[in-house]
Amino acid sequence: MINKVFEINNLDLFYGDFQALKGINIDIENNKVTALIGPSGCGKSTFLRSLNRMNDLIDICHITGNIEFEEMDIYESGYDVINLRTKVGMVFQKPNPFPMSIYDNVAYGPRCQGIKDKKVLNKIVESSLKSAAIYEEVKDRIKDNALSLSGGQQQRLCIARAIAMKPEVILMDEPTSALDPIATLKIEELINDLKDEYTIVIVTHNMQQAARISDYTAFFLMGELIEMGETNKIFTQPTHQKTEDYITGRFG
């Protein structure tokens, strides 16, 4: 039996009258990278955002079915959303460091949690930057404004910022689509290293990226989960013709 961190059952998600997700059933395995692929508007980012209830910010959004994180339904009334978002961090398409120093970016979350001890904060910042494979590049200018970093460095800083919260899962929404190939490669290597400690769910439009870095791939189309399976199988012998057509570029 797989060690699953998320269990999603019959998930329907609506934006007003529009149904963006239809009857999704997925298990997300612990310490694995799961890639979500599919054409624009297929629901993959919506699905990703539903995993830490980011969709709550949209008034007209409502769901049926359930999403269990560590065997608790995260949409149950009274569920601690702040705790959920601490445990399920997120990295976005465009690097979005806060307009403050590199150090303060990473220390922001722990400070919000009430950690004031400078030594403890220093330790968290250093280990988070190291985990995000950016420490060596920024250790001598840790008080510089984060916006002075390159795009690739900013994105790794955002990953460090997520790691500082000691999450269990990191959600990544097209984290390399705004980056050059070298920066992309660094993030991909980082993802590979991070899965020893974290579960990663990543939305990507880059098919080869999904093939390179993920253990499992889920293919979405028009709000439906068409196929999910081991990445090696999806990219060599997909079961569904629609998956085959999409990954080989016959449509989409």
Partner: protein
């Protein structure tokens, strides 16, 4: 202007056509081999050796095209299988053609009249040609049933080969020195056709992989 996908599809079709062309040339080599056996015309044997250079060139071309498509298009799923299959089948076809060349070279070097061995070569060779024609049709039509049928024909080829081996051994034991020597050399020659049949079964395995992505061991 062609879309990228259309251009990619054209490249895959070109690759497929090269494999089919290569198959036709290999069949031609064995047809020529039968003619050498039937007519004793050694010029045809030389043609087989010459033709093999072209077969090798087609294989190189399939390799170059295949690697380029992989590098440029990063193919997946059935596209990827099609390229891998083309590379593997062309490798088997190249080996099969080499067996025809080995036999052609035998005819050019031997001092025997070959009356004993040609009978066996014609018998086995014609069976092999039918297998080659069938397997190339199975590749063209992506027909697993036909590929499996051709695979069964290899067992028939093996049985016939064993019978021919027995016959030649018997001649070796009971005939004059010269006939015995021809029979012994004949054993080595017909082994080439038996080996060619094994490569046909490899092609059958690759056709199955091409169609449904499953790896099977047929031989």
């Amino acid at each position: 202007m062609l879309s990228n996908r259309k251009r990619f599809v054209n490249e895959l079709e070109d690759l497929n056509n090269k494999v089919l062309d290569m198959g036709s040339e290999v069949i031609e080599s064995f047809n020529n081999l039968i003619k050498v056996c039937e007519t004793g015309d050694l010029e045809i044997a030389k043609e087989i050796i010459e033709n093999d250079k072209m077969i090798n060139e087609i294989e190189v071309s399939i390799n170059v095209d295949g690697y380029l498509i992989i590098a440029r298009q990063c193919p997946v799923a059935s596209d990827l299988r099609r390229i891998i299959t083309a590379l593997k089948i062309s490798n088997d076809l190249e080996r099969i053609a080499d067996y025809a060349v080995n036999i052609a070279k035998y005819f050019l070097k031997t001092k025997h009249d070959n009356s004993i061995v040609v009978e066996s070569i014609i018998f086995l060779g014609k069976h092999l040609i039918k297998m080659l024609e069938g397997i190339m049709e199975a590749f063209d039509k992506e027909d697993i049933e036909l590929a499996l049928l051709i695979n069964e024909q290899d067992e028939v080829l093996d049985d016939v080969y064993k019978e021919e081996v027995k016959k030649l051994i018997n001649i070796g034991k009971t005939s004059t020195d010269e006939e015995s020597e021809e029979a012994i050399r004949g054993l080595l020659v017909i082994k080439q056709i038996e080996r060619a049949g094994d490569h046909v079964t490899n092609v059958a395995e690759n056709i199955i992989y091409l169609v449904n992505g499953k790896r099977v061991e047929l031989n």
